[in-house]
Symmetry: C2
Subunit: 222 residues, 2 copies
């Protein structure tokens, strides 16, 4: 009984996510869904990425939080459109919540929409929101055992950013082991090693995002 | 509709948790439910706590993970009884999962049972398992904004362990701010500042646990 309820919720969500996706397609908008544990660096990565790309790309952000609007305020300081979703307790964003933000955006004026999910390494991986792909962050302070322990998010994501590499001298964590365990679960994962604090590794990420926007457009035009 | 389904699940869980609690009461067993984000240090804290207390207290552990048994293996090395629950995808432990482990334990031979929940700062806070209290860990690498962003867990817990204080020189995080924000949400929270790596602050925690076991017993005998 419980399983069938959950399954119905997921199916209903998938339908809404597909409808969202059709709208994003029509607007030629690249959308990614950014997920991680609390405090892994989602908002910091967004701040850096916006600074680096905002001359080239018009970026919008949807901020998901249980409550509070601290992250949306941080993003709004960058002078780009941002909408806060407060889930009021729910542990992830779903397609319907994303849909509710559409009236707040002018999608014709955007190239890239980033959805920052609630900080949670488990539940957001189950729910599509209409994104082109899921991106995830793991910080080295969380430890190298996380791919094996939270496999769904590693399986569902197209790109993994291993963050806080500036802390590697002070923590017991092997980036090689994270990569090895990740590729067992998801052999196609694109992986970046970054520090949002020092900026190390971020140029490769920025270029990858630029390419993704371009690739999506040319695919669309064919 | 969705809300009422969730409410029924929570109510059914509360009933099972109460039944579990009655069994723990009968056996004079202190039970706490340990929660945090992935990688905040739940298993490391348990390893240290078992080493420090196992001469004085007979300790058992229930390990909750989505899949894998790495944590249970770490705890089993301490020579104490440990049972692994694999939730198979579920983001938290519930009363029923805990109930299923009872046949594996001899509660008459235990003073303290620790339930290590799935790494998730959101969902486990909603589900009672029959514990005397919830304990939570926040690592300083997660940032000082977490109490305001994930208030339920801070509200539901009796004790907060602020872990990885050895990393404070390298991260932008104020322990004072964490404490201030926590006490706004939960003025009665007992707070410890610890490092499972260096051992700093752990003696106060060990003594507190010893006192909790004693207090529970004398309350029971009256």
């Amino acid at each position: 009984m419980k399983v069938s309820v959950v399954k119905n919720i997921l199916e209903a969500n998938d339908r809404i996510a597909q409808e969202n996706r059709a709208i994003f397609d029509e607007k030629d908008l690249l959308v990614f869904n950014l997920m991680s544990s609390p405090g892994a660096g989602k908002t910091s990565l967004l701040e850096k990425t916006i600074d680096a790309l905002k001359e080239d790309l018009k970026i919008g952000v949807i901020e998901g939080d249980i409550q509070s609007s601290q992250d949306a305020e941080r993003i709004a300081e960058k002078g780009i459109p941002v909408v806060q979703i407060n889930t009021g307790g729910a542990c992830h964003l779903d397609g319907n919540m994303i849909r509710d933000t559409f009236k707040e955006f002018d999608f014709d004026a955007l190239d890239l929409l980033v959805v920052e999910n609630v900080g949670n390494l488990v539940c957001p991986a189950e729910f599509k929101v209409g994104e082109d792909f899921k991106a995830m962050i793991l910080s080295v302070t969380e430890g190298e055992d996380k791919p094996a322990k939270y496999p769904l998010m590693f399986h569902e994501s197209k790109v993994l950013l291993i963050n806080k590499i500036d802390l590697l001298p002070y923590v017991d964590c092997s980036v090689e082991k994270i990569k090895e365990e990740t590729l067992k679960i998801n052999p196609g994962m694109t992986i970046f090693e970054i520090s949002c604090k020092t900026g190390e590794g971020l140029d490769a990420w920025y270029n990858w995002v630029r390419e993704e926007v371009k690739t999506r457009r040319s695919a669309r035009k064919q």
